[in-house]
């Protein structure tokens, strides 16, 4: 136990030294000779031990060819070091995209790996922390996107943690690795509450419209059904008419058709800050799914009622970054 924690501490110290410049680093990050480390793998150690035994046997029996065998295999080991090193060195990493995620699901960081050398890179493995590794090959003078998962636990900005890039290609005897901390942020929305009060229809949140959507809103047309569309807006009649056609969604003119306000202050008094944000996130998703126009009132921020993906993104972003500085 003691040993394990000591090992961990030493490892952390090494990584900090290895990264020297404080993360995040300027892009593109090029894995230069000085930051690629090489050590034998466990298989490599076994290989070395086996060579030692073969050498002893060759000495004991005065086998010249046994000596030659050991020396050839030793040369192979040295060559493996060079090839493994070559497989990793001079790769450049630059941050790619990172789509926002809800807390609780893994953030997907995309890294663009670029190989400017005329040889392909084989079996590179990348991972963050204790996550599963992603294995990529890069063709000669080409680039490739690797998407690394990392669990997002808290809302707000999640900087991409340190990435380990590793390879043991070609012989698996030697491991070359490097660390990188590219500047890439993932926006983490609060996790939508599993149980939330119903959407707030009462008060001034609903403006002169009835709940079932008849009246002021005008039917304006149909489009292909999307998963986020409310089932109530499916044009069931149209579906029934054209057998095995696509599901269609009725569109209603005017954002004002149904409008609600999602208000921080209207939430139950028992809920604390994070729970309120979770409930608001749930409401936004529900309202968006229902095709409602919704507005958001936070203590320090107000979003005018609207609907659609952009409104949803803006709302969730506001929730994610709510009071960010105070935390």
């Amino acid at each position: 136990m003691m040993l394990a924690s000591l090992r961990l501490r030493l490892h952390e110290t090494f990584v900090r030294w290895a990264l020297r410049t404080r993360p995040p680093e300027p892009v593109p990050i090029i894995l230069t000779q000085r930051r690629v480390y090489v050590l034998p793998t466990r298989a490599g150690l076994a290989y070395a031990a086996a060579l030692g035994v073969i050498l002893l046997g060759a000495m004991n029996y005065n086998l010249s060819l046994g000596h030659a065998l050991v020396f050839l295999l030793a040369g192979l080991g040295i060559v493996a070091i060079l090839h493994t090193f070559r497989n990793l060195v001079q790769i450049s990493l630059s941050p790619g995209r990172c789509e926002p995620v809800f807390a609780g699901s893994p953030a997907q960081f995309s890294l663009i790996l670029e190989n400017r050398r005329p040889d392909a890179r084989t079996s590179l493995r990348l991972w963050i922390g204790d996550q599963d590794a992603v294995e990529v090959d890069i063709d000669a003078r080409a680039s490739k996107v690797a998407t690394l998962g990392y669990p997002a636990t808290r809302r707000g900005w999640l900087p991409m943690p340190r990435v380990t890039v590793e390879t043991t290609w070609p012989l698996g005897l030697v491991r070359a690795w490097s660390y990188a901390a590219p500047e890439l942020m993932c926006l983490v929305y609060p996790a939508p509450a599993a149980k939330a009060p119903p959407l707030p229809w009462s008060g001034d949140s609903a403006r002169g419209t009835t709940r079932d959507g008849r009246g002021a809103d005008d039917f304006s047309g149909m489009r292909k059904h999307q998963v986020s569309d409310a089932p109530r807006h499916v044009a069931w009649k149209a579906v029934a008419r054209q057998h095995d056609g696509p599901l269609l969604t009725k569109l209603f003119a005017g954002a004002s058709a149904q409008q609600i306000w999602l208000d921080w202050n209207e939430l139950p008094a028992t809920a604390d800050g994070e729970q309120r944000l979770s409930i608001l996130a749930r409401w936004m998703l529900d309202a968006d799914a229902a095709g409602l126009a919704w507005g958001l009132r936070l203590p320090a921020l107000q979003l005018a009622p609207d609907n659609g993906q952009e409104q949803l993104a803006a709302g969730l972003r506001a929730l994610a970054l709510h009071n960010d500085g105070a935390r």
Partner: protein, 650 residues
Amino acid sequence: MARASRPISRRQTWWLLASAIAAAAPLAQQVPLWLALAGASAFGWRALLTWQHWRLPPRWLQVLLVIAGTVGVFLQYRTILGRTPGIALLLVFLALKLLELRAARDAVVTALLCYFLVLGQFLFTQTIPTAMLAGLTVLITTAALLAASDDRPHPRQQLRRAALLLAQALPFMLLLFVLFPRVQGPLWGIPQDRFSAVSGLSDSMSPGSIAQLSQSDAIAFRVQFKGEVPPQSQLYWRGPVMPAFDGRSWRVAQTMGAYPEVPYAGAGTPVEYEVTLEPHGKHWLFALEMPASLPPESALTSDYQPVARQPVRNRTRYTQRAWPEALAGIDETPGSLRAALSLPKDGNPRTRAVGAAWRAEHGEDGAAILAAAQNLFNRQLLIYTLNPPLLGADMVDEFLFDSKRGFCEHFAAAFVFALRSAGVPARVVAGYQGGEINPVDGYLEVRQYDAHAWTEAWIAGRGWVRIDPTAISAPSRINNNLAAAVPANEGLPLLARSDMAWLKELRYRLDAVTNGWNQWVLGYNPQRQRDLLASLGLKEPDWRSMTAILSVLCGVIMLGLAGWILRNRLHVDPVLAAWRKFTARLARRGMVWQPWEGPLDFAERAAAADPAHGEGIREIAALYAGLRYGPAPQAADLIRFKNRIAAFRP
């Protein structure tokens, strides 16, 4: 490690199977038949499993098989240590490892076992074909190791990559081979099973024992003379001396290591030479008569035969000097002389009678009796033949007076018997006579069919005198070779015959290649290493200087190889390189170029932040955009672009 737990694919299994077969097949004839068959069926089973996508056998069955195999090996050899049992055990493990290939770790273990088995082959033979076969095995095993990391490439590509890696490893191998400080084995006791059956002279001689060797054209030893090669008739390679006679066979009766130094004075022109002795499992070091110097770790027996302290189990090389005319044993001990006179109580009455007559006529005059004996052999018209008739109890009498046909052991035995019965101390000397110069490399090759027996008689004032009774009846055996002396219709090994010149020529070349291999590859031992390094100008090479040179040269090769492997490191677009320099300068001023930003947008932002240099920034960005994304970039633009950036000092 995540990698180690990854399951093994079918392709990887095929590779490992191929490498296991390549490693195990050459050893099949060295292990008992049941093991060879069991191993083959394990391989076949594994192939079937892979082919049919069947499941691996359950673990309890694997454990059971390992136990059964180990017990089988133990019952076979009554031990699991030593050469052959060890290899048998490795084969058992390899075969069963294949049946439990689950994770990548197992692949590495299998590959290592295969490398071990390559060493196992060398325990039995180290010829050039063996080396080539071993090279193939190493190639396949290395390809299997490559496949264990990445099994996607086509097998041919995989082999090519393995060959490339091994080719790059070759310089290291050569360097290490030459410079790695060698240690003379054995480090610990060598099990006695090494060199169990080698043909060669034995320590006793009975009718037919040397004639049997005449059927073998195996090399006994090779000799390289420093100066001129002595005449064929002087090439007596002294082996075991046999004074003890029991009526049928002659035996050695010598004191090992009686003389640490040569006890007699030199005479005549010394002959310098170097012997490369094939292993024969005995202590004898064959030397041209009379030995004038002793190889290290050896001594002379009481009858002047050089013997090594350790049995010759490896091909051994030693330099020697001979005094062809030395007088040895002038003051021989009475004990030895008595032993050289002893005869069985009865038998061979006719020879005894002849001896007694000589004794009566010449008295103490040994030289005269010797002459009489030679005269007798000459008169009898004895016939030298490979196929003498079987002889009865009085074999000397029957040979001399009845059948008159015999091989060299008959001649020597009869001559010594006759001399002893006349009161002249005499003994049989076994060894090799002659040899043949290989015209390709100039080495004298002494083969088993050159085995010979001759005699020594002790004459007062002259010591032990060599007389070869065969030479009296068949001088061509001594002056030429065996083929010239025996009748043409008697079966001889190919090389002993004088016809088939082209085949002999071919064989000479082959022998010369083998000899070069033996001398420089197999015989590269601590001594040869020291000699070579000394001839390269390294005075008094010891392990320290060798290690130092080795490290430096290995470093040089490594650098060279690294340079080659990492060649053509980066091809950076000069436009991009200059732009990077530019953005790095701005970044230091707090204006970081974001990768998603277009150069012109960035320039606007940077110019806004630093209006004093705004124009310069905009111009550079515009040039960059033009060079990078515009049609047909102009060289002049590039130069301007670079100059602007070089001059840009925010």
